[in-house]
Symmetry: C2
Subunit: 188 residues, 2 copies
Amino acid sequence: MTDIFKDFITELAEINEQDMNRIMSCISVYNVKRNTIILAQGEVCDKFYFLEKGCMRTYYITEEGQEKTRLISFDNTPVTVLTSFINLKPSVEYIDALEDSELLSMSQTDFFRLLDEIPSWALFYRKILELAFAFQNNRIEDLVTLSAKERYEKLLKERPHYIQRLSNKIVASYLGISQETLSRLKSK
Amino acid sequence: MTDIFKDFITELAEINEQDMNRIMSCISVYNVKRNTIILAQGEVCDKFYFLEKGCMRTYYITEEGQEKTRLISFDNTPVTVLTSFINLKPSVEYIDALEDSELLSMSQTDFFRLLDEIPSWALFYRKILELAFAFQNNRIEDLVTLSAKERYEKLLKERPHYIQRLSNKIVASYLGISQETLSRLKSK
DNA sequence: TAACGATTTTGACATTTGTCAATGCACAGG
DNA sequence: CCTGTGCATTGACAAATGTCAAAATCGTTA
């Protein structure tokens, strides 16, 4: 059941069986239906989630009421609003399920306790942070360097499943452009 | 001399004197003149720098030859191309000095060795990563949500020294807009 | 101090992208 | 099977921003 997560951890940090068991003792399973909001704006993200299967979205709503998608997560990825999780501050962002999804969860308290108890877990967290940083770095580069059209083409080339599995509305919001612009880009 | 750096570390992670001395034994001082490039595109960023005084810029050059500024660092901040530093991969980005600057530096090897030796140093690094992540998160939000004008006004309000100490060219490049647009925004 | 080079400003114009509105389409729930 | 709600498409237009070019200003160095 939780094997996918175990594999994911192991790829980032070697962990012995005892420690792994300790970690898994803090994990619970959490299944959600499509369109469920698992974290709303203003709530504290006090859980670390791992998405085993399905699709989740992290987004926020601007003052003008527009949805801006920060991140789309597919199978086999961590899902958390780090900025809220780290300091237990209210989250600006929502997390919802774009498809029926199978999640694991660990409480923030356990997560941080494990950091002190298990060096490999601390290494795991460090790697997560490094990857998250690199991802955002790329995101910024794309936003600053590429036009709407180029961003769409890059996504189509590098992550075609985004365009296949997601609605236009979501993809547009992820690319930072309007639905109409995306629709026009696609029809060329 | 290195007191500023010590204070900086201490604010993020408590460190006893012995560990601090160990850390400081890996530090060397590095002064650079305005306009010096301390890291060029294609080179590996194998040093962690800490800017005690002055101003440094992290930027890259697009295929069309445009400079895009990722980050401006003033007194009392770490300066490193993390994506290169972490994996010792060639850097996409340049680092140069916008003013005469006083830097400290630590080799990547020492930096990572200390992570294993000194838990507080590992905590320090974790905090740095968390802060860097939060900063980028913000940056993305601004780029996606705000217009050029709003981004300028926000910068003017929250970090007026950016506009005072930096040339228009640099500020524009940091905001992700053209010099001309910035010039027009300012004259209102 | 003079002169050069770089930066800034300004104008005219092109391009990209957003907004609004109307229509067509598709799917979920009764 | 019908129907309503949300999503996608298309057109017309507006707004924001970029590009190019010329003139003005500033700062540095010979």
